[in-house]
Amino acid sequence: MQRATLNRMTPYAFMAPAAIVMVIALLYPLLYMVWGSFRDWNPAQTIGETEFVGFKNYVTLFYDPAFRESLSVTLRFAVIVVGVEMVIGVGLALLLDRNIRGMSVLRTLFILPMMIAPVVVGLMWRYMYHPTVGTFNRFLKSIGLEGVDWLGQNALMSVIIADIWQWTPFIFILALAALQSLPRSALEAARIDGATPWQQIWHIKIPLMMPVLIVTCLLRLIDAFKVLEVILVMTEGGPGLSTEILALRISRTATEFRELGVAAAMSNYLLMLLLILTALMFAYTKIQEAREARLRTAAEEDL
């Protein structure tokens, strides 16, 4: 009896160190943030000295036009970048899924942007976007066109372009991997059935890649909602609030406005948004697994 209990406990003993680290590093700060979001909290105070205000922070934020603007910028940013990245990434993968000499070098080149630190990417684009000495405007002027006010009038578009440049490769490599694992013979069958290259893409390749594409898309969305460094370096959220994404607003609320409680509440809104996306992703994989299990049982019944 004693021995059996011990045996049952053994795995938990092995898991304990990891569990303790997780509680300290993940759960503690998270609960601390949730706790802080219900308080009126100035950085000068310890959390014990702060006043409990209930849902006031959340309610205030809900009606705060600046927060709403920031949320809307974030949503627009995320939806546009992920949408465009999916189209370009999948398109490139479809285009480069072939054996041409030098293709492996080309593929490596394509994924380089992803490997550059975001701060460096931000600086790089900031200089390229510079109104007078930046690469883009100098080029435009050299061919006789007007310069564009990249980080002024068109700031959101400019940061979107930078993000697309950096993260399209992520979708490209995943889509390429998905493409290369497609059953070759099904594609050959489609050729014999008379499908043109376009029809092969629409009727065979894309549907078969769908599971990978959906998960990729959700992963990128989650990432896009948390974007900070590149925009911080390029525009610091400006001009005005035009590129002030949530992560930036949270950090400014905490440091400039010295409202830790509000910042915590804002983080919680963002967290909830991400949780929904993550839940969607898990739900999708669960549905896929359930479907496969159902297929297997159905096939076994008919053997």
Partner: protein
Amino acid sequence: MPTIRLDNLVKRYGAVEVLHGIDLSMEENEFTVLVGPSGCGKSTTLRMIAGLESVSEGEIYIDDRPVSHLEPKERDLAMVFQDYALYPHMNVAKNMSFALRLEKRPKAEIDRKVREVADMLGLTPFLHRKPGELSGGQRQRVAMGRALTRDSATFLFDEPLSNLDAKLRGQMRAELALMRQRVHKNMIYVTHDQIEAMTLADRIVVMHGGYIQQQGTPEELFKHPVNKFVAGFLGTPPMNFLDAEVVDRDGAVWLIGKGFELALDGEHAAAAKAHRKRHVTLGIRPSDLDFDAEAGNETSLELRVIVSEYIGAHSVLMCDCGGQQVVVELKSETPIPLGETLRFRVNPAGMHLFDRETENAI
């Protein structure tokens, strides 16, 4: 119906030549089987006819029209793949109608066609299932159904039965033979299984090492193989080969090998005499040996029986003849004591002589 002709077809992958000039012409409505061991080039040949592999040299003619520059869809053919190659995301009906839907045929016609073929193949209850929900045999039938709905002039089969278990394979082979009777089309079938080849083919093409070894009806190839490879490849259990010397003695022509001396009959004697070289290989099929204690020395082999495998109506005996293994196939009724040396009469018509160096039939 078109006829298909291959003219000096060559395939190279880089510097490696895998097909060395294949010449082949298939009659209208003929069931042609390309058979050979793996790596012999049979699948490559089929895929070149299908248009899935490019042609390095030579030409493929369908109805005297060169097609090697055409896309697969322009060649009017349907293909059944070894791994079925069904579209996993479409149900059975969609799989079968894919080609017709691409052609934008009227919906009523597509429905009718799919129902007709599904009826013929017993797939009607499964039309709404996805391939993942089907067993191996059913998937195989869907693959066949997809080819049939197309109404193409030519059907290509790339080892369609090799992924099935033995029992199902036998069943599907019979179904194929039945389909063959109902559907009158050109069929080209690739397999490494000589039983499939023998049972299904109007014409067998035996390939080996990127060359065609021999082509003809199953009976022609079985009775008159042109070389040792074809002789050994077709037939189960495979043909026995014994090294022997051709010797003239007392006005007759004899074959003398380790543990046997056989007198050749007129036809074989003349052929052996005409052949200059003396070193030959004697080929005898296991079914051309028969237990006969009274047989004379000059018409029989003396074999020591080592193992007897009972396989129902027949038994297969593994025997020893002067250090070389000889397999004999007998009716099971004949009781054969193991370990004893017995006489087995050789059917004179079943003797095959091959040049030992070139391995060609004499």
